[in-house]
């Protein structure tokens, strides 16, 4: 399977998961996020928020990208945050249109977590949850 993008920056923990771009695999993605958050002692409410944000991002890709085959999900844990990159496979063009209002799922995603970045090369999203207790 091809590497979905440039390597992640060095960090204490990196994990990857690639799933077929089919709605029935969203449950697997949610389980993976929940399991990782539990393992990393992410506060439960923050973990639930991230789980939903990742699910919404993947759902958005599945529903809007017709040539989508797989979704690569890359987790990067830093001491003060957990970042998740969502990378459609094969790489797609721009994922969002500024001419149309964002769907409810994207609004939710942006409300639930600390940062949503739309990546251009390769196209994707980076979701970040800041972890408490770190200055």
């Amino acid at each position: 399977m091809p590497e979905p993008g440039p390597p992640l920056q060095a960090g204490p923990l990196q994990l990857g998961l690639t799933v077929p771009a089919q709605a029935e695999f969203l449950g697997v993605v949610r389980l993976a996020v929940a399991g990782l958050c539990h393992r990393l002692d992410v506060p439960p409410d923050r973990g639930e928020d991230l789980k939903m944000a990742v699910d919404e991002a993947c759902s958005y890709c599945i529903q809007t990208l017709p040539a989508l085959e797989r979704i690569a999900i890359r987790f990067e844990m830093a001491p003060d945050r957990l970042c998740v990159r969502i990378l459609p496979q094969p790489p797609q063009g721009p994922l969002v249109s500024s001419e149309q209002p964002p769907p409810l799922g994207l609004v939710l995603m942006e409300a639930l977590i600390d940062a949503v970045e739309w990546l251009e090369n390769p196209a994707g999203l980076r979701l970040t949850v800041n972890l408490p207790g770190v200055p």
């Binding site: 709605a23 029935e24 969203l26 449950g27 949610r30 409410d45 639930e48 939903m52 699910d55 919404e56 759902s59 599945i62 529903q63 769907p103 409810l104 799922g105 609004v107 939710l108 409300a111 639930l112």
Partner: protein, 114 residues
């Protein structure tokens, strides 16, 4: 991933739709189908019990919003039963808490219908 949807009539006042599982892009068509069947049968007062729902995404919210629009065309109501804090939080964030009636149990929902 599973979803279970059961429906039953209560005191001839309303129909209860009990949903168990996770409502997402994959499972929401099943929930939509069951609710739409009831509406097509002329059941316009629905109590949707989300107590068994562990997760709901924007697609699931869309199903509920669509159902609410349909029953309101017939002066019907949709009452939700939900105590899960995470799900209630989603209703708050989206502002849906202002358009849905949300109760803690069936008894309270039935009282509201009386």
């Amino acid at each position: 991933m599973d979803i279970k949807v059961n429906t039953r009539s209560v005191l001839d006042k309303a129909h209860v739709v009990e949903v168990q599982g996770e409502i997402d892009v994959y499972t929401s068509p099943r929930v939509k189908e069951m609710i739409n069947e009831l509406i097509e049968q002329g059941r316009f007062n629905l109590i949707i019990d989300l107590e068994g729902v562990r997760y709901i995404d924007s697609t699931g919210l869309g199903v509920l919003i669509g159902a609410l629009k349909k029953v309101r065309e017939h002066e019907g109501r949709i009452l939700l039963i939900c105590t899960n804090p995470q799900i209630k939080k989603i209703f708050n964030i989206t502002g849906l808490v202002k358009i849905f009636e949300i109760y803690k149990d069936e008894e309270e929902a039935l009282k509201a219908l009386a």
